[in-house]
């Protein structure tokens, strides 16, 4: 759905997205990393279980909540990727998606 215009001159860090190892540019937000990774959605809602994905990317809508390094309800758009980070889609109020 989204792509990087320039894939060359970045320092990269190693993260996992739903268990899959991925290299992403240093300084990128988790939201940017998962959007370019092509995940169809990043969480399901606690109420109806509907799929959701990042929406505002500036910290106000709370749609991009993910489980980051085992901690649930982290705003992916307000978190920068770090070497060794584990990023998982979130189910409802805070379990990783199976």
């Amino acid at each position: 759905m989204f792509k990087r215009l320039d894939n060359s001159a970045h320092n990269r860090v190693n993260v996992t997205i739903n268990g899959q190892p991925v290299q992403v540019p240093e300084g990128e937000t988790v939201a940017a990393a998962v959007l370019t990774h092509g995940l169809p959605y990043t969480r399901t809602t606690p109420e109806s279980g509907a799929p959701r994905a990042p929406f505002c990317l500036m910290g106000v809508c709370f749609e991009c909540l993910m489980v980051i390094d085992g901690k649930a309800n982290q705003r992916a758009c307000m978190t920068q990727v770090r070497e060794g980070m584990h990023i998982e889609c979130q189910q409802g109020v805070g379990e990783p998606l199976p």
Partner: protein, 464 residues
């Protein structure tokens, strides 16, 4: 970080940067708290790290921010990035969260420079993955050089939508269509405001240039679009709409929407500042005097957080508020405050000429603002539909807070940031009252999430 500052500035966009720089240059100790990792706010985001060629693709308005950011860096203002404000009150206590550690600081003067958010306008399917704010698309572009795949559809109304389409054009992104939902009748209402807008004609020229470039590039722009609808099972598959009385549909995996911007007023609300409804800008605004003073002593607001004026106005109003803060701190006398503010005031007047025209021209239709479709979710967090809100009103709940208590609308994680304005519109229309009487949700701290452990850590840190 100290426990007390003479001046605290919240936000490092144009207003906050200009204010902090001004105060620091006058020798006053100032602390700037900002949730982003680098200065610039959303408008000048990634200013210090963006590659030259990408900055050029964004246009000259973006590049203006460079000077502002470097002056701020050189000013000696204390800068605390990646720091979230979760509380603010009339005693001028600020609750902060920095690297998982909660802190409380006080200040003699506090300037809120929290900027704007995109106006959330609920429409059928807007919660589907694949639908995103146009501003979000712009953030991806500025901060990370990330763009949507070819075939993206842009929809909504307002200058930013046009700008983003133009920026995508220059970045080589294939925009499938630009769907303009601005009602045709707006042209008529905006016309009397045109002569004054011509005084700031460069904005109009720029807008027309963007339109011309898009047209030349063959990007399909449909005007007077109604009945916007995002469709798909788990994710977005198509956008449907009414154009010239005909139902149309475009297949796409990405829809970027924009319906103008409104003040991000969470902090002024939680502090208890008085707010008023502005019918031209269609939003709640903190009530400010000509110096940016709120109804609470020692709390000021500058920039779009105090009413939408754009990035340049934000910069000037930041300086004006800084002069006021310096005056209140005894660092400037009354005459100096007056004299120093004169130039910024002049620029603010120049900038203000365009606003009434833009507000009338890009005014969103009542149909959209009042969320005509009953099944559309208004509260994305708690999944409350427009129909449920109207039922609550029919059952006798006649203001935003009553509707919130009954339906949980606005009680989710975003704390009403995404549904507050829409609920005001829906309740006013359904109950036949003026929006001013409906009110907005009452906000309570924390306005940004923190854990009980972090809160407890605040106490132990303060008593040690």
């Amino acid at each position: 970080m100290k426990q007390h500052y003479r001046l605290a500035v919240i936000g490092a966009g144009p207003a906050g940067l200009a204010a902090a720089t001004t105060a620091a240059e006058q020798g006053v100790e100032v602390a700037v708290f900002d949730e982003q990792a680098a200065p610039g706010g959303q408008i000048y985001r990634a200013m210090e790290s963006i590659p030259q060629h990408r900055a050029r693709q964004l246009g000259d308005e973006y590049q203006r921010g460079r000077e502002l950011v470097s002056a701020f860096r050189a000013s000696g203002a204390k800068y605390f990035p990646e720091t979230q404000v979760w509380s603010l009150n009339a005693r001028r206590e600020i609750g902060l969260l920095q690297q998982g550690q909660a802190r409380a600081v006080t200040a003699d003067q506090i300037l809120i420079a929290s900027g704007a958010i995109e106006r959330p306008v609920p429409f059928p399917g807007w919660t589907l993955p694949g639908v995103m704010n146009a501003g979000a698309g712009q953030i991806l572009f500025k901060a990370h050089g990330i763009v949507p795949d070819d075939g993206v559809v842009l929809a909504g109304s307002g200058p930013l939508l046009l700008l983003l389409a133009w920026q995508y054009l220059h970045a080589g992104v294939g925009v499938k269509a630009l769907l303009d939902v601005t009602p045709m009748m707006n042209h008529l209402y905006a016309l009397p405001r045109l002569p004054r807008a011509l005084l700031a004609g460069h904005y109009l020229t720029k807008g027309l240039r963007y339109k011309r470039d898009l047209k030349r590039a063959g990007i399909s722009t449909l005007h007077n679009v109604r009945g916007l609808r995002a469709q798909g099972k788990e994710t977005l598959q198509a956008v449907s709409f009414l154009h010239n009385g005909r139902e149309q549909s475009l297949e796409t995996a990405a829809l970027l929407v924009h319906f103008g911007v409104i003040p991000h007023a969470q902090l002024s609300r939680v502090a208890g500042c008085r707010h008023v409804w502005d019918d031209s800008q269609l939003c709640w605004q903190p009530h400010l005097d000509e110096w940016g003073r709120t109804s609470i002593d020692g709390i000021l607001i500058a920039g779009d957080g105090g009413g939408i004026g754009g990035a340049r106005t934000a910069e000037h109003s930041g300086r004006v508020a800084a002069f006021q803060a310096l005056y209140a701190l005894g660092a400037l006398d009354r005459t100096a405050r007056q004299r120093l503010a004169r130039i910024d005031r002049k620029w603010m007047r120049e900038e203000s000429h365009i606003r009434p025209f833009l507000e009338a021209f890009f005014r969103i239709s009542d149909d959209m603002l009042q969320v005509a479709d009953d099944d559309t979710l208004v509260c994305r967090c708690e999944e409350v539909s427009a129909g449920q809100i109207r039922t609550a009103v029919a059952d006798g709940h006649r203001d935003s807070n009553q509707v919130k208590f009954l339906t949980r609308c606005g009680m989710g994680l975003c704390q009403g940031r995404q549904c507050g304005e829409a609920v005001s519109h829906i309740v006013a229309a359904a109950s036949g009252q003026a929006i001013q009487d409906i009110g907005h949700y009452r906000e309570r701290p924390p306005v940004n999430p923190l854990t009980l452990g972090q809160l407890a850590g605040l106490h132990s840190e303060q008593t040690e």
